[in-house]
Amino acid sequence: MSISSKGYSVVRRVIQRHGLLLVLVALFIISSVINKNFLSVRNLTNISRQISITTILAFGQTILIIPGMLDLSCGSVLALSGLLSVSLYKQTESLLLAFMVSIVIAVLCNFLNGLMVTRFRTPPFIATLAMLTMARGAALLYTNGQNIYQIGKYTVFGQGSLWIIPTPIIFFFLVGIVTWYILTHTRMGRSLYAIGGNEEAAIASGINVHKRKMQAYLVNGVLVGIAGVIFMSRVNAGLPNGAVGYEFEALTSAVIGGTSFSGGIGTAGGTVIGAFIVGILNNMMNLAGLNAYLQQVIRGAIIALAVIYDMYAKKMRTTRTLGSIEETQSA
């Protein structure tokens, strides 16, 4: 093998293994060239804060996509739980209770998601699509379509800060750590990866698939509940119509971050990178003054590209392994 082709394959491997990070770095470079202020603490903090809610949802999606499921309802459930949380705060003046209520409601909704998927064998797409509609309806039903204003101290969740760090970023960080921990350091995480890799083999290996899938939805519920509180807190109101479409942003971040719909693949770190890539692209489009609708078209295109790449990567994985088997058999 000549030296140049060896060098080429090394580059190729580096791209395959760290492609995601390289894309992020490239975006950083391009952005800072275009915009002198890009690398400022203020701007980076802004971006981090903007992606906080979506990324928290994306962590939930990651935990679900790995075992082959997903959650299309997170935007609606976020709104429902956040709304009820705000409402309870206005009635009890207790931030703690309000926070807990959001978690409880979101976990309840996801418990139902989990029930539909495990007990009733509903495909996650359908089950969470149904929940999307039900939760949104429930939210609108609760206030009869009205918004709840004057939320007082509730704003501390989304607009406060610890020292100089805005609270959304603190939640983002904490949720990220927990997600990473669950995926790498717990039996639940390992089981989810196994289920995603080959569910039947996982069952045959003694894994309780129903239990783990339910756990995944429940964890997702906690995350959605947290996102709900932050969201309402940031928009300064209880909005039953809030967070529409957030599930797609969450999915985008997760998929760009390397979480594959083929199952068994994905990491918390990857999702963070994916979220930042999306966040920086949004930032760039905003600074470029792009029409908001055009931005939406572009965002959609990015999702499509991410999924297409995911399919391509999956095909590459299968062809490579089949190729290896052929090699060893002939050897």
């Binding site: 350091h185 990866y193 080959n198 003694g206 088997i325």
Partner: protein, 237 residues
């Protein structure tokens, strides 16, 4: 292990057999005789309507693989691709998947212990892989089968149900797996092996049950072994 009157409607009827510690027992029969179904029912993957199962004298009702694994009963599936390996994950993860509680408990992950144990098993089973972190689908069929065996060995089971353990595997790996089976039997484990290769059955087993159309047609002792005898029972008169 002792089984009496195991019945699963549509698959098999009144299956009674036994496997003593240190024995390798064969389960022969034509394709479709119901052998895989019997194994799957014993392991908890298929339901059964009647019958009793004892392991080490303890009676058990098996509802899922978790139940059987808890009692020291494991099964190596016939279809490795479908039930045996977890493709996208590493060799290491594939090996430890059946006994995660040994390495991850109380919120701690015994990383080094896991690596040590997996390497020890892979060496023992002579698994050829660039590293234990390699994606298992990159391994050859024979090596994949060894990894699947390793994942069950980590359980230190009492009874092993092996469904066509050497099908589709190169000669070298086949020999290694046979050697391993003999070692396991010597260690006092009981093995029930389903195989369609008559020479393998005759060569490896202490006793052979022959099934046909969901029923056990007969049991052959070592001195009665012959390929003709097996086929005679398998074709079913």
């Amino acid at each position: 292990m002792r089984v009496e009157g195991l019945t699963s409607s549509g698959a098999f009827d009144s299956i009674s057999l036994s496997v003593r510690a240190g024995e390798i027992v064969g389960l022969a029969g034509l394709v479709g005789a119901g052998r895989t179904e019997v194994l799957r029912a014993l392991f908890g993957l298929n339901p059964y309507q009647a019958g009793e199962i004892w392991i080490d004298g303890r009676s058990l009702r098996v509802r899922s693989p978790e139940d059987s694994i808890a009692h020291g009963l494991i099964m190596l599936s016939e279809d490795r691709r479908r039930y045996g390996i977890i493709p996208v994950r590493s060799v290491k993860e594939n090996v430890t998947i059946t006994r995660l509680e040994e390495f991850i408990y109380g919120g701690r992950w015994r990383r080094l212990k896991e690596i040590e144990r997996v390497e020890e098993l892979c060496t023992r089973m002579n698994v050829k892989t660039p590293s234990i972190n390699t994606d298992i689908s990159a391994l050859s069929g024979g090596n994949q089968q060894k990894v699947v065996l390793a994942k069950w060995m980590i359980q230190d089971p009492k009874v092993l149900l092996l469904d066509e353990p050497t099908r589709g595997i190169d000669v070298g790996a086949k020999y290694e797996i046979h050697k391993l089976m003999i070692t396991l039997a010597k260690e006092g484990k009981g093995i029930l092996m389903v195989s369609s290769e008559l020479p393998e059955l005759v060569g490896m087993c202490d006793r052979i049950y022959v099934m046909a159309e969901g029923k056990i047609r007969g049991e052959l002792r070592r001195d009665q072994f012959s390929q003709e005898a097996i086929m005679h029972l398998a074709v079913g008169q």
